[in-house]
Amino acid sequence: MPLRRLSQAAAVAVVAALLALLVWDVANNHAGKVAKEVDTGHPYTAPLFTRPLVNGTGTFSLLSMRGKAALVVNFWQSYCAPCTHEARTLAAVSREWSHNKNVVFLGIDVQDLRGPARAFLKRFGITYRNVSDDGSLVGRFGVTGYPETFFIDRRGVVVPVPHVGHIIGPATRQLLNAGIRYALAT
């Protein structure tokens, strides 16, 4: 009889442990939180990441930018048609802001092979830093399609650009400039 009770207790313990694991996973899962919060007008601390550079060697760490510059973070893929529509605009606006050390452009190339990714950057004259992502940053930022653009201020907070939140779809010059100015002002 004690053996039976013991096995029952063990079964209950296993179920409780699995339930606790599920609760922990749900509680620690911030998937989609950044985009959702920003689009409803709430600033949200950007998830930290370090990723290998596409155009160059080494890595880029978001933490290295904290306290130094505001960031324009653009998610893209080389085979995404809307990304090609905004690529020249992004390249041009990044050149216009290149004199300002308080503004940094960063591309996040999602699930792309290096060859086509580099060819894309070369084709559109993009010279700012780009990192490759295996898809995990997409989930952490809550990106639902490509391209999407976020603005991060010097404190490392993703800021909600008034009336926009973050840019979904091809970015225009006006939206990019508005986002940069808002990120610099906060």
Partner: protein
């Protein structure tokens, strides 16, 4: 002893399976890998990234790369597509459960079956001992009681 033997057999099967193939085939690799955007086997996908991956595999096979090298290059540098392209759960974090639970379940089931068999054989032996353990005096008394009951 049986458990050790089973583990040895499993290892003998697993080790050759894990070895690298120096002459991989395009079809073989496409069947093992997964398209990271549509999550279907690469050989069934025609998405842009799948086509990029197929072209990369073709080039690397022509260059003499092993299947392990090609998989490593797709998962990590230089392409960094991540472990999702391997089509198997990661061996760390929450995904580790996908490996641990089935193996743990098999282990627990094996122990439970073994324990059940041991209990069952023990009870049977006790029953037999009880059945054949009547003393002549007790047997005579049972017979007498039965005869009186029949009368």
């Amino acid at each position: 002893m049986k458990l050790v033997l089973a583990a040895a057999v499993a290892l003998a099967v697993a080790v050759p399976a894990a070895a690298c193939n120096p002459h991989p085939s395009q079809a073989g690799l496409e069947a093992q890998l997964v398209c990271p955007t549509c999550h279907t086997p690469l050989d069934e996908s025609s998405s842009p990234v799948a086509q990029q991956m197929k072209a990369y595999i073709r080039t690397r096979i022509a260059q003499g790369a092993t299947d392990c090298q090609i998989e490593d290059e797709l998962v990590g540098p230089p392409n960094n597509l991540g472990p999702a392209v391997l089509g198997v759960p990661a061996t760390h974090g929450f995904d580790l459960l996908a490996w641990v639970l089935p193996l743990g379940g098999i282990g627990v089931a094996a122990v439970a079956i073994g324990f059940g068999a041991w209990v069952w054989s023990r009870n049977r032996a006790e029953d037999e001992a009880v059945a054949s353990g009547l003393s002549p005096d007790l047997e005579r008394r049972v017979d007498e009681e039965l005869a009186r009951f029949d009368a």
